[in-house]
């Protein structure tokens, strides 16, 4: 190779304009083909489950959500203070406010405190692989599932719990608990093991109900005693429910 000979290069810049033009069209296409807020729902249905999970997770702005949540909580407590202030005027308003506050407490919109129990559920720390249809697999009993949490919450209410929270998310009337991918979703909030369920109620009754033979905790204990940790508490404080409370469809009949 002789480096002093000028290389034969067709260095005309004729390529720039066609490539640029097609790049412009390409940019346009990419922009209108992307997953955006407007076409998100109509296109999510065509993705496969794995990709759907990734896209859905990427679309959630966790920080903004948490910020809004704390704002809702603080605004609600401010509202309670204002209601108390207004009610200071007369007997009738005081009565009205008392009934309002007890209704709010019942609906889970006020913080509550009292004695109760705290149950911690966690995925089995030493899962044993067993042979399922000739393949080594970790059996599903090693993990905490949405139905387990649902069952536990249900059992606590059945045993007379007056307020329940799961990982500091208060369970209220419209609360839903379900499974999304590897996490459990409580009112659109992702939680994962360990899951702390706190309930206010008579500690003895609650504990007795939970530890019933064949009860909710019995299944876990039989599989792996380390999956459950349960203790009585002198004083538990639960934050108020921070989800939506306004109705979109339902209304209260006039009569």
């Amino acid at each position: 190779m002789n480096p002093f000979v000028q290389r034969i290069t067709h260095r005309s810049d004729q390529w720039v304009w066609p490539v640029s033009g097609m790049c412009l069209i390409l940019g346009f296409m990419v922009m209108i083909a992307q997953l955006s807020d407007t076409n998100f729902h109509s296109r999510l249905a065509f993705l496969n489950p794995n990709q759907k999970d990734r896209v859905a997770e990427g679309a959630v702005d966790i920080d903004a959500f948490r910020e809004l949540q704390t704002e809702v909580t603080s605004l609600r407590s401010e509202k309670t203070q204002l209601e108390n202030l207004v009610a200071g005027k007369g007997e009738a308003t005081k009565l009205l406010n008392n009934s309002l506050q007890s209704t709010k407490a019942f609906a889970g919109l006020t913080p509550v405190e009292g004695p109760g129990v705290s149950v911690t559920l966690r995925d089995s720390p030493h899962p044993e692989s067993i042979k399922i249809q000739g393949q080594l697999e970790v059996p599903p009993q090693n993990n905490i599932h949405d139905t387990d949490v649902l069952q536990l919450v249900n059992e606590l209410f059945a045993a007379g719990a007056e307020a329940v929270s799961v990982n500091d998310h208060r369970i209220a009337g419209p609360t839903s608990i379900r499974c999304v991918g590897p996490t459990i979703l409580i009112d659109d909030i992702n939680i994962a093991s360990p899951i702390v369920v706190q309930a206010i109620g008579d500690p003895k009754t609650l504990e007795g109900a939970l530890n019933l033979n064949g009860g909710v905790l019995d299944d876990f204990r039989r599989w792996d005693p380390d999956m459950v940790q349960e203790e009585k508490k002198e004083l538990i404080r639960l934050d108020p429910y921070s989800g939506r409370t306004e109705f979109r469809v339902a209304r209260v009949p006039k009569t």
């Binding site: 480096p3 290069t9 640029s20 940019g27 922009m31 209108i32 083909a33």
Partner: protein, 136 residues
């Protein structure tokens, strides 16, 4: 001049942003995404052919248009006849994009190394030309 395609790409993005029917939804959006893949492949292929000095404007433009249309309709056809041709298109085009990009990278690296070598040799030649002829 070399940066013009990038600028054009960004202009295209912005143009679509201010377009009234922004972001196509549903299945059309899905097919259009495949078409985008074909477009990306063709553009990289074009850049590669420039580096190989065998770029032809007509071939490039017709290639771009026909490739995007073919990708779009192959994906569409796949759903009509119940085969995931969409995956086939994505797979083939993805592989081609990788090949094109790696070839572009090799061409650019070779060119840079060639230039560096040439400069080095030229400086050596200049140094020896300046020095008195060695007596042999």
């Amino acid at each position: 001049m070399v940066l013009l395609p990038f600028v054009a790409f960004v202009v295209g993005l912005l143009l679509a942003r201010f377009f009234p029917w922004n972001a196509v939804g549903g299945l059309t959006g899905q097919y259009l995404a495949v078409a985008c893949l074909a477009g990306i492949d063709t553009v990289f292929g074009g850049i590669r052919s420039v580096l190989e000095s065998k770029f032809n404007g007509i071939v490039f433009i017709t290639g771009f248009v026909s490739n995007t249309l073919i990708a779009f309709f192959l994906a569409w056809l796949g759903d009509r006849i119940g085969i995931d041709l969409y995956v086939a298109v994505a797979l083939v085009l993805g592989a081609r994009i990788f090949t094109n990009l790696s070839l572009i990278r090799r061409f650019i690296i070779t060119r840079l190394q060639d230039n560096a070598d040439r400069k080095k040799l030229q400086s050596i030649v200049q140094a020896t030309a300046g020095a008195p002829e060695p007596n042999i």
